[in-house]
């Protein structure tokens, strides 16, 4: 089973559970609202590629409205939001969310070699990724 299938199965199960779990329902709704408000500038990723790159062979856990994948050495965590259909990648060594290539995006170096901090909103755009739907993955 690929990561996408596992994720989709866990999302379906969690959404079914919201009928009897109001707290889970609120957590899932919050993820959905976040996507509605902020996802316009997020790039899309194939969850299979991200899990394979950062947390290969990880067994997903459902915790607090997220599907969580942890790398075998504990360095990376992929948090896939159930309600929002997006994911983030956390580097425990760098202590920050990273982009799809594992880069720390908090600072950048300009054309003359001077380092600058990225704004919080810029960082968020670079570290939130919409999860491609199965049909989109085939394109």
């Amino acid at each position: 089973m690929d990561a996408k299938t596992g994720y989709s199965t866990l999302v379906k199960g969690s959404k079914n559970a919201t009928a009897t779990n109001d707290d889970l329902n609120k957590k899932i709704s919050a993820g959905h609202n976040r996507k509605e408000m902020y996802s316009a500038n997020w790039t899309s990723v194939n969850i299979n590629t991200i899990v394979e790159q950062f947390t290969p062979k990880a067994t997903p856990e459902v915790v607090n409205g997220k599907v969580v994948y942890t790398s075998s050495d504990g360095r990376y965590k992929v948090f896939a939001d159930i309600g929002g259909g997006y994911l983030r990648i956390y580097d425990m060594k760098k202590r920050c969310y990273v982009d799809a290539f594992g880069n720390d995006v908090r600072n950048y170096t300009d054309s003359i070699g001077k380092q600058h901090g990225r704004s919080s909103s810029e960082q968020k755009v670079l570290t939130h990724f919409r999860i491609l739907k199965r049909e989109e993955m085939k394109k």
């Binding site: 609120k26 609202n33 976040r34 856990e61 409205g65 504990g74 901090g117």
Partner: protein, 119 residues
């Protein structure tokens, strides 16, 4: 082993004008002017009633793996909501966890700073 073991959870408060500016613009990356208050995962799990109440009544999106800011002018209402939740809570552990939130809110008010919830 929990999925959130060793994952950092913090509140941030601007200690001065520069800190408030850094907090608004850059989040936690420039820490020199920020007051950092760590919070345990268990405290978050004990405080979902409060988190949901803050989200619903103040139109916030507080969540794990995300950051959210409670603005200065909203902090008194957040404190009022938190005190209301605390009054109703009978579980000792949950009361202790909610009290940590209240401490963070009160500290932000004392610095006249927004409260950055960096989870």
């Amino acid at each position: 082993m929990n999925a959130f073991d060793n994952y950092p959870f913090f509140f941030y408060i601007g200690k001065d004008e520069q800190g408030i500016s850094d907090l608004r613009e850059y989040g936690e990356i420039y820490k020199e002017h920020l007051l950092q208050i760590p919070v345990e995962y268990q405290d978050i799990n004990n405080s979902w009633d409060l988190i949901f109440a803050l989200n619903e009544r103040l139109s916030l999106l507080i969540d794990v793996c995300e950051d959210e800011t409670i603005e200065v002018d909203t902090l008194p209402m957040a404190l009022q909501i938190a005190n209301g939740i605390l009054e109703k809570e009978e579980n000792t552990n949950k009361r202790a966890s909610i009290s940590k939130f209240i401490f963070a809110i009160k500290t932000a008010i004392s610095y006249n700073s927004p409260l950055l919830i960096w989870w």
